[in-house]
Subunit: 203 residues, 2 copies
C-alpha cells in the first residue's frame, strides 16, 4: 500500500531550490512518486561546515544566476533574476514552512513564496511575500506567523536540521532515497532512477 | 568548413573532470562536435576567489566521492575511490598538459593520467603516473617534463589561466560555447544543446 517515496529536503533561501519547488509536483504526477517535503535550515549547516556557497564569490554567484536562468527556461519557468539574495528573514520563512509541514498548505506556501520571490522580486520571508503566500495557501497569516515564532516550532526546526545533518545533507534541495543522498535540482532525475533501479540509468 | 567547437577547460586535479575526460571523445564522435582541450590552473582561480570546494569540508567531500562513483557507473567507468586528493604536484601535471596542448598526445596524456589516478590509485603529477602517462601518449618523459619546467611553459600556463578567468571560468571542467559558460561534467549536455539550439532543450 505504500507509495514509493523520496524525501525532498528544502530550505527557503536556496536559489536552485526554485527549480525543484516549481517542477516537483509535475514530476510527482508523471512518475507516481510521493515527495515528502522537509523544511530545514541549510544555512545553519553551511555555517557550521564552513561551506557558504556564494557570499564573497561574485564570479560564482553571477554564474549561478545565469545557470538558473537557462534551466528555468528549460522547465518553462519564468524568472526575474537576480532575485533578492541572501534572505534577511531566512529562519522565519522556513519556520512557517515547519508549521505547515504536515499539511497540504505547507507545500502551497513554499510554492507561492518562491513564485513571488523569483517571478515578482518580492524577497521571501518579508512582507508582502510572507503574508500573501500564506493567504494564497488558504491560511490566516497572523495566526501562522505567531505559531512560527513559538519555541515549539523553533525546536522542531532545529530537530529537522539535526536530522538533515545526520543524514549527510549539506545543501538544498536534497533528495534522499533509501539513505542515498542526491544534492541539487540537477540530481532529481538521478534520485528517481535510484528509487526505481538502485542505480543511475541514462535519462 | 569549420566544425562546431566547444572549448573544454580542464585542470588535472579536479575530481569531477574524471567523468568528462573519460567520456568526451565518445561524445565528440556521437555528436560531430570538436572539443578543444584547454589546460589551465583552476587552483589559482579558486584561491584568488576564495572558492575552495572541498578542503576542510569533509561532509561535502564524502558526498562528492559518492556522487562521482554513482555517475562513473552511469558512464560504465571503473573508479577506485577516493582517489588521492588533493594533488601535491598539481601545477606540474597541468604544465605537462600545456606542453601537449596543440598535439593529439596532449589529450592522450590527460586521459592516461586520469585513468591511472582514478582507476589505479596513482596520484596525478607524481611518479609513476607522470612518466607512464607520457609514455602511453607516445612521448619521452624526460624531455617533456624538462620543457614543462621552463619559463616559457610557465608563461603559457599563466596566460591560459588568465584567459579562463577573464571568460568567467571558476571551476573544472568548464565548457564554453559562443561565450556561454557551462560548469561541471553534468552541464556537458547543456553545452551541446546550447551549441545546437541556442538554449537548453530536454535531453
Amino acid at each position: 500500500m505504500d507509495k514509493p517515496t523520496i524525501d525532498f529536503w528544502i530550505s527557503i533561501g536556496s536559489t536552485y531550490s526554485y527549480l525543484s519547488v516549481m517542477r516537483i509536483e509535475q514530476v510527482a504526477k508523471a512518475t507516481g512518486i510521493d515527495f515528502r517535503w522537509r523544511p530545514f535550515s541549510v544555512r545553519a549547516i553551511m555555517i557550521e561546515q564552513n561551506n557558504v556557497p556564494f557570499r564573497g564569490k561574485p564570479v560564482k554567484m553571477n554564474y549561478m544566476w545565469r545557470d538558473i536562468e537557462r534551466r528555468a527556461q528549460l522547465y518553462n519557468l519564468p524568472a526575474r533574476l537576480p532575485a533578492p539574495y541572501p534572505l534577511s528573514e531566512f529562519d522565519l520563512a522556513n519556520k512557517v514552512a515547519i508549521v505547515g509541514e504536515d499539511f497540504d498548505w505547507g507545500k502551497a506556501y513554499i510554492q507561492a513564496t518562491y513564485r513571488r520571490w523569483f517571478q515578482n522580486g518580492e524577497e521571501a520571508g518579508l512582507e508582502p511575500n510572507l503574508s500573501e503566500s500564506l493567504r494564497e495557501a488558504g491560511q490566516r497569516p497572523e495566526a501562522i506567523i505567531e505559531q512560527a515564532r513559538s519555541e515549539a516550532v523553533e525546536r522542531r526546526y532545529q530537530q529537522a536540521t539535526q536530522h538533515a545533518k545526520s543524514s549527510g545533507i549539506f545543501g538544498s534541495p536534497t533528495f534522499v532515497v533509501n539513505g542515498e543522498v542526491f544534492w541539487g535540482d540537477d540530481r532529481l532525475e538521478d534520485a528517481i532512477s535510484w528509487l526505481r533501479h538502485g542505480r543511475i540509468e541514462p535519462g
